[in-house]
């Protein structure tokens, strides 16, 4: 009996250890597949005269949620492998938040994939400072750099070197519900006074004028940014952020107080500071709010997305943020900016092939992304040759005519300052700070970074 109990316990311990070690093995295996490969990349086999290599490519477009993007990625990789038989591209796909976390984790152990995706400016900065991304200026020679919409590459540049090439570009128009406008005899506003009149009429008739989900905070930042641009011109905010100007610029303070003026007019849906952007979008989609300021990434929802009633989709139009009398802004100046871009890891063993792949990818992507996935690429699109919904063509034409694109403020700033900015936006909209305090807090946060 005693012996039996003893051996039974021992057996279970042995089993436990076996299971544990099996887990460990599986773990290290998958690590090797995903990122360890970047260090031991090229291994066996010779094809033609070149040694066979493997490019590890990490992206955030899974087949489920980003079906359109995922399909194009696979097609591009197939083409690339067909043209370069010695290269194999291994994908690792993660969803947005997981992708960000994984990128941070693998970079702290210096095991980035050969090619991956990054966001612009503030997100990119620590990676560039840590010497993790390779400069891509070599790729931009011979006219390739000119195919990008002007101003987009700069968002990925630090110290005059470009560290990633954009795949997405967005601007933020004000979408509006044509049916609601028609019901109340309203026209698309071209000046800010007309816009205020639209807001007032809608409020008087019990319709929520603007859907805003300010729990996410960057959504409210868009409104402040446009007011800053229309009042102070396109440089006012940019210079305040890069420290050649200041947030205490009277025009920026005026923009902040104009934001509060809109709040006090009840221009935004009730309880906007507690609503997420998704909830606010729902208010616009179900017709209970008349306007919605959001990036052009929402275009599929207003054109091709079958899940949204066709009647509603036909009723969506957009207009440019109106100009303000006496302000320095231009109506063709937009808030927006590039989304994700491709980087090459500095310590990649297959840098040459990885660079080629990035260039190939960006070229092919630009040809297909609008039609295949509804994504506006960072490279210029020729609308005359594409069969697209009218709303897309209009937005693309606006993009081509844009006099300036101001990068989203929270993307321009470093992570710490962005957090202050976003909190201040919420307080400004909540009437908890004065425009002067709003400016002062920004100044303090920015001066701490200098």
């Amino acid at each position: 009996m005693l012996k039996k109990a003893h051996s039974l316990l021992l057996l279970s311990v042995a089993l436990l250890l076996f299971v544990l070690s099996a887990c460990g093995d599986a773990d290290s295996d998958s690590n090797e597949d995903s990122n360890g490969g970047s260090n031991e990349g090229e291994t066996s086999g010779v094809d033609g005269d070149k040694e066979a290599v493997t490019i590890d490519f990490m992206h955030l477009w899974p087949a489920g949620v980003s079906a359109g993007q995922n399909k194009i990625v696979n097609e591009i990789i197939e083409q690339f492998e067909a043209e370069n038989p010695h290269v194999t591209v291994v994908q690792e796909v993660l969803e947005n938040e997981q992708y960000k976390t994984k990128l941070q984790v693998v970079s702290s152990s210096n095991q980035l994939p050969d090619v991956g995706m990054t966001w612009a400016a503030g997100f990119l900065e620590p990676y560039v400072k840590g010497n993790l991304f390779a400069p891509l200026d070599g790729l931009l020679e011979n006219g390739f750099g000119d195919t990008f919409v002007s101003g987009t590459l700069e968002a990925y540049a630090m110290d005059d070197q470009t560290y990633a090439l954009p795949l997405e570009l967005n601007i933020a128009p004000i979408y509006y519900n044509k049916a609601i406008f028609a019901d109340h005899g309203l026209d698309v506003p071209e000046t800010y006074d007309e816009f205020l009149n639209v807001v007032e009429t809608l409020v008087d008739n019990g319709v929520a004028p603007i859907a805003l989900g300010n729990r996410d905070r960057w959504t409210g930042s868009l409104w402040y940014m446009y007011l800053a641009d229309r009042i102070g011109g396109s440089e006012a905010l940019n210079t305040a952020i890069d420290r050649s100007g200041t947030f205490e610029n009277p025009k920026l303070i005026e923009a902040a107080s104009e934001t509060q003026n809109l709040v006090n007019m009840d221009a935004f849906v009730r309880g906007f500071n507690g609503l997420s952007n998704e909830e606010a979008k729902a208010e616009f989609l179900n017709g209970s709010a008349a306007m919605y300021l959001m990036g052009s990434w929402e275009l599929p929802n207003f054109t091709t997305n079958e899940e949204i009633p066709q009647e509603f989709r036909e009723n969506v139009g957009f207009f440019k943020f109106p100009t303000i009398e006496g302000g320095d802004g231009n109506i063709d100046s937009w808030v927006g900016g590039p989304g994700v871009g491709l980087f090459v890891a500095e310590n990649s063993d297959v840098k040459e092939e990885a660079m080629e792949f990035v260039k190939f990818f960006v070229e092919k992507w630009g040809e297909q992304s609008v039609t295949g996935a509804g994504v506006i690429p960072g490279t210029a699109v020729d609308t005359s040759t594409l069969d697209l919904p009218q709303l897309y063509i209009d937005v693309l034409n606006e993009l081509a005519n844009a006099s300036n694109i101001t990068l989203f403020a929270d993307v321009q700033m470093s992570a710490g300052v962005a957090e202050t900015h976003l909190n201040m936006i919420q307080s400004l909209f909540g009437n908890e700070v004065t425009p002067e305090e709003f400016a002062q807090t920004h100044e303090e946060a920015l001066s701490l970074e200098e």
Partner: protein, 292 residues
């Protein structure tokens, strides 16, 4: 069997797997967090050792103390709600009809994940379409509160689902403890003419005092490190009005890329939780163990 268990080597062998697991998964990370807290690190590049600079920043960081205040407020509310849980358990453990059904009803929220509960309450609190404001409007309140947008009430609006969420857990613990009290004690009291209230106060509650102490520690420590529901419902906003220590730590480490400072907050949070646990144990210590 006794012989096996008295052999020191064999005890060591059997304890080893669990010990290794807890050391690598709990204690090593704690030590590492303590070390990261002494460095300046953005989570990506190089770490530089800066001594106690993060902690001196922490001591003067008003945002941190604001979030700590919110956490302690939650702890106080959780402890107060324990009284309500205890009352419910006392009723349920009496011989009333349908006690079993009620016990199960109270347990349901515990079976839902925090994220599901958060999503549920976000909808309840919706400023225009939510059940709460629809109800308030129907009884004639024209301007119902903006539960999650108003900085003066958002914290309390979040406490309600948290307290609701844990009701089942504590009721289950109290119920089990109360059921363990020998029937003979209660019957003897009844024969002596004690009212149900006296039985509850003077016999049942003192007899489960040790369980109550444990639940107080659980409620306080659980509140101090509370994170998930708050994060899903408001992310600590608007403008920090519902920020707690854990969400402030997460924000610093993962949103603001300040891993060093985030780690310092995490380590400090651990120290606070340990200190508070120690104080509670001191305050509730009794010399005599009641036995039955």
């Amino acid at each position: 069997m006794d012989k096996v268990m008295s052999n020191k080597k064999i005890i060591a062998l059997y304890v080893l797997p669990a010990l290794l697991l807890i050391i690598t998964l709990v204690y090593v990370p704690i030590v590492l967090t303590g070390y990261y807290g002494l460095t300046q690190w953005d989570g990506i590049g190089e770490r530089t050792f800066i001594g106690l600079a993060n902690y001196s920043k922490l001591i003067t960081d008003s945002l941190f103390w604001q979030s700590a205040f919110h956490s302690f407020l939650l702890a106080i509310f959780s402890v107060i709600s324990l009284v309500a849980y205890l009352a419910v358990s006392l009723v349920l453990s009496g011989k009333i009809k349908g006690a079993n059904l009620f016990r199960k009803i109270y347990l349901v929220p515990m079976l839902l994940s925090s994220v599901a509960i958060a999503q549920l309450w976000i909808r309840i609190y919706h400023p225009t379409n939510g059940v709460m404001n629809r109800f308030l409007e129907s009884i004639g309140i024209s301007n119902p509160p903006l539960w999650l947008a108003d900085t003066s009430i958002v914290l309390f609006a979040i406490f309600i689902p948290i307290i609701w969420q844990y009701a089942g857990f504590y009721i289950l613990i109290y119920y089990a403890a109360l059921k363990n009290i020998p029937e003979s004690l209660v019957e003897a009291a009844k024969i002596d003419g004690a009212t149900p209230l006296q039985i509850a106060y003077k016999i049942k509650v003192p007899l489960i005092a040790s369980v109550i102490k444990v639940t107080i520690v659980l409620a306080v420590v659980g509140s101090l490190k509370y994170f998930d529901l708050i994060w899903v419902m408001t992310e600590g906003g608007p403008n920090g009005a519902s920020e707690v220590m854990a969400s402030y730590m997460y924000k610093n480490a993962f949103k603001m890329n300040d891993f060093g400072y985030g780690s310092a907050i995490g380590f400090f949070l651990l120290l606070i939780a340990l200190g508070v646990t120690w104080i509670i144990r001191k305050l509730t210590a009794t010399k005599e163990e009641i036995q039955y």
